[in-house]
């Protein structure tokens, strides 16, 4: 009996170890494959094509044959949708965790779950329909472009922000929750000075998820304003390029191996852009945390 249990225990731990090893191996194989395939294309011309890099960087000359406009497009999309989704998501999470209870809370909760399960292509269709509706009613000039795309991405990533904030606050243990209150804080002071700083790490993870979701999405922008060649957008309703769309487009339309390699190069760049945005949000999060806790 004891031996059986020992065997069961050790096979369970071997299984756990193997599963972890699998995850690490997949990541390693995936990134080295990506790197090997894209190695030949990873140079300045991937970004700027034949244009002078410095002038193109400053936006003085157009880039015809590089992914620089797509990089700028993705960064703008992520920042704009983040500005829309993150504050609303955090506030909604705070409200659901700290202020609401009963039926309304349950209804809002299921609505958010529902929102999280909407496929992004459906969200894109929603955006497209919304633009058509606006065009026929209040705004005859409404058209696909950066702003509606960022808006749809914001709706798409909003539930992640709400859920992580709500969970993070909900996980704070009861003594911690009471700390500020026993010192004479009112409810709002306790949320601002104790609960939010305590859960800042989880909330930051929510921000990272939100950013990741907007950076990688292709389906939403496909129907709301991304095009293969638009240059750098200068106005809110300009059409734009984006890295995930470039990858998709290259993969389906490439004529030579070199072109496909460029797609792999763009994939590496997308990973780096997402990584940079994570670092940025972490730095901002840290400084916000400092200003509320001291």
């Amino acid at each position: 009996m004891k031996m059986l249990r020992n065997i069961a225990e050790s096979s369970l731990s071997i299984w756990a170890w193997l599963s972890t090893a699998c995850v690490v191996a997949v990541l390693a194989i995936y990134s080295s494959f990506l790197f090997v395939r894209s190695y030949s294309s990873l140079k300045i011309s991937l970004f700027f094509g034949n244009a002078d890099p410095w002038l193109a960087f400053l936006g003085k000359v157009p880039v015809w044959d590089g992914i620089w406009p797509a990089v700028v497009g993705t960064v703008l999309l992520v920042i704009m949708s983040g500005i829309m989704a993150i504050p609303v998501g955090i506030m909604a999470g705070i409200y659901l965790s700290e202020y609401s209870s009963g039926l309304f809370c349950e209804i809002a909760d299921s609505a958010i779950d529902l929102l999280a399960s909407i496929p992004s292509i459906v969200m894109g269709l929603f955006g497209f329909t919304l633009i058509l509706f606006l065009k026929k009613t209040a705004f005859p000039n409404a058209n696909v472009g950066l702003l509606p795309a960022a808006f749809c991405l914001a709706i798409l990533s909003l539930p992640y922000m709400v859920k992580t904030t709500k969970l993070a606050l909900g996980n704070i243990d009861s003594d911690r929750r009471l700390t500020g209150l026993t010192l004479g804080f009112n409810k709002l002071q306790n949320i601002i000075h104790v609960l939010l700083p305590v859960s800042s790490r989880e909330i930051l993870n929510g921000i990272i998820l939100t950013i990741g979701r907007s950076a990688e999405d292709t389906a939403v922008i496909l129907l709301t304003g991304v095009v293969a060649n638009a240059g750098i957008p200068t106005r809110m309703n300009d059409k734009f390029e984006a890295i995930p769309f470039f990858i998709y487009f290259t993969a389906s339309e490439h004529k030579t191996v070199e072109e496909l390699d460029k797609g792999f190069g763009a994939a590496i760049v997308l990973l780096c852009v997402a990584g940079l945005l994570f670092v940025l949000s972490k730095t901002i999060g840290k400084s916000v945390n400092k200003s509320t806790s001291v």
Partner: protein, 253 residues
């Protein structure tokens, strides 16, 4: 209410939903002394303690009936009367928990932040207040060179003294201590006990203790709780011989 009384409970009942935790409590708590609550777990000690800073009402389904009269700044208040803001009450009736609940910020910020937020203290007054309360809990010499370090880097006993200092910085008159030494080792426990005996001169202390020996070391008044009722109020000076000590022990557990 005479000056020697810091709080008086009249016909207090506390229930959470259908469960009655405390019933018909009538008591006077002496000022500038240490009152220790003893009783089995589940006898309502923590709930009893949380009557005084109205903390019970933060829990779902809590209902408190009866009157709680406290003496704050020489004035007498009914704590459920709306004249007294609950935030002010909680500053004047400070609380220390069983596990040190320092905030995940620096030693300095743990005291400075609440000071700024609730009592509007600013500038050099903050530094002065921090130094004086840290001296009061005998922590100053241990931390004066590392005030900017995270509070969680301190030992358990130091963290508990920091929590005490944080409460003291808000100039309370009554201190509620919920098994403040339960998570500490022997030496740290003695240090806290010694501190409490010293603080008794300026504060009225109401503590829960899990240890009878500790209770006899620090208490001026012992309240025995059993199944939500006060079964006896004991003056520890009446019981200095082993026999009566044992009989109490049997009565409680």
């Amino acid at each position: 209410m005479s000056k020697s009384i810091c709080a008086e409970l009249q016909g207090i009942n506390v229930s959470f939903g259908a469960k009655t935790v405390l019933s018909d409590i009538n008591l006077k708590i002496a000022a500038n002394s240490i009152t220790v609550l003893v009783g089995r777990s589940g006898s309502g000690k923590t709930t009893f303690l949380r009557i005084f800073n109205r903390l019970n009402e933060l829990f779902h389904g809590a209902v408190t009936t009866g009157q709680v009269i406290v003496n704050i700044g020489g004035k007498v208040f009914d704590i459920h009367n709306h004249v007294l803001e609950v935030e002010f009450l909680r500053r004047k009736v400070g609380m220390v928990f069983q596990n040190p609940n320092v905030l995940p910020s620096s030693i300095y910020a743990n005291i400075a932040m609440p000071l700024k937020v609730v009592s509007g203290v600013h500038g050099s007054e903050i530094e002065n207040r921090i130094e004086s309360v840290l001296r009061q809990v005998q922590l100053w010499d241990e931390v004066k060179d590392r005030l900017k370090q995270p509070a969680v880097s301190l030992s358990g006993g130091q963290q508990q003294r920091l929590c005490l200092a944080r409460s003291l910085s808000l100039e309370p008159e009554i201190l509620l201590l919920d098994e403040p030494t339960a998570s500490l080792d022997f030496k740290a426990t003695l240090k806290i006990e010694e501190l409490l005996i010293g603080l008794r001169e300026s504060y009225s202390i109401i503590a829960v203790s899990h240890s009878l020996t500790q209770t006899f070391r620090i208490a001026n008044q012992i309240i025995v709780l059993k199944d939500g009722k006060v079964t006896s109020v004991i003056d520890p000076y009446e019981f200095r011989d082993a026999r009566s000590y044992e009989s109490i022990f049997e009565e409680i557990f």
